[in-house]
Symmetry: C2
Subunit: 147 residues, 2 copies
Amino acid sequence: MAPVRELTVGQVAARSGVAVSALHFYEARGLIRSHRTSGNQRRYSRDVLRRVAIIRVAQEVGISLAGIAQAFQSLPEERTPTRADWNLLSTAWRDELDHKIAQMKKLRDGLTDCIGCGCMSIDKCPLRNKEDRLAREGTGARRLVVS
Amino acid sequence: MAPVRELTVGQVAARSGVAVSALHFYEARGLIRSHRTSGNQRRYSRDVLRRVAIIRVAQEVGISLAGIAQAFQSLPEERTPTRADWNLLSTAWRDELDHKIAQMKKLRDGLTDCIGCGCMSIDKCPLRNKEDRLAREGTGARRLVVS
DNA sequence: GCTTGACCTCAAGTTAAGTTGAGCTTGTAG
DNA sequence: CTACAAGCTCAACTTAACTTGAGGTCAAGC
C-alpha cells in the first residue's frame, strides 16, 4: 500500500486550523505526540489530526486541557487508537455534556422567575441554593472555564 | 419607615458569599457601585446584593464579567433598578442561554457519531464545519470562557 | 551553494478573574 | 481612651491557554 505520509507541524497547523505554537503547547501538555527527524523537526502521524479536532471540540464544550489530557490517558500509547477506543471517550464526555445541559436548563428556567422577582436575598433564593455549589480549590482565577 | 441600613463590604461579603477582594474587584470593573463614608470606607445600598447574586449566576452559565458589565449598562444609573429593568436583562440572557444549550446539544449529538466514526478528517467532518467558528480576536488566551 | 521560508528552543508577555500581602487608617467595644 | 478587628490602597502573584520574540538551525528551489 502507499505509505501514509507523515506531517510537519506546519501541515498539521494548516489542516487543523490551530497555530503552530498551540501544537507545541499541546505537545508540552502531553495531548499530542510526535517524533523527530534527524534534523530535530517534528513529524506527526496522521491520527494527530483527529486528536487535535477532538481537543478543539472538547474545549468548545468547556472541558479544560487538563480534563482532555486525563481523558486521553484512556487511549493506548503507541498504538493508533481504534474506533472502540474513541467511542469509550466520547461516551464519557456525552455524560458530562448531558450533565452540563441539564444544569444550564435549570439555570435558564430559574432565571426569569428568580432574577425578575424579589427573592434575590441570597440565603433563600432557590436559584442560589438548589444548585450544588462549585467546590473551590487552589488559588488564582477559579472560574475561567465552565466545568 | 425604618431607614434601610447601608452595608459595609464585610457584610456584603458575608451575605453574598463572595470575598471582600472580589467585591473590590467588581467595583473596579464597574459592576457594582458604592459611596464612601467620611472615613473613606465603602457603603453599599441593599440592591448590591441582588447585583452580586446575578453576577455569580451569570458567571456560572459562562458569561464573562465584561459581558455582565455590558448587560448591566442597560440598568439605570443612580436609580434602584425596578423589576422591569431586571426582567429586561434576564430576558436577554435567557436567549443567550437558549443558544448555548442548543449549541451543546448539537455538539453532544454530533460527538458519538463523529468522534467514533472515521470522518474526523477536519475539512469534511460535519461536526467541525457545521458550527459557526468562533471569531478569534486579540492576543493571549482565546478560549478561557465558553462564550 | 546559497537564499529563503519553515523549524526549533526558551523566555517572557497576555487576558481573565481574582487572591495575597504589606503598610496604613477607621471605628467600635470595653 | 485604647485595643484590635475591619477597611483602605496598591503592587505583585496565580492559573489557563496560548502568543510573541529573539536567536539559531534545516531543507528545498534556483
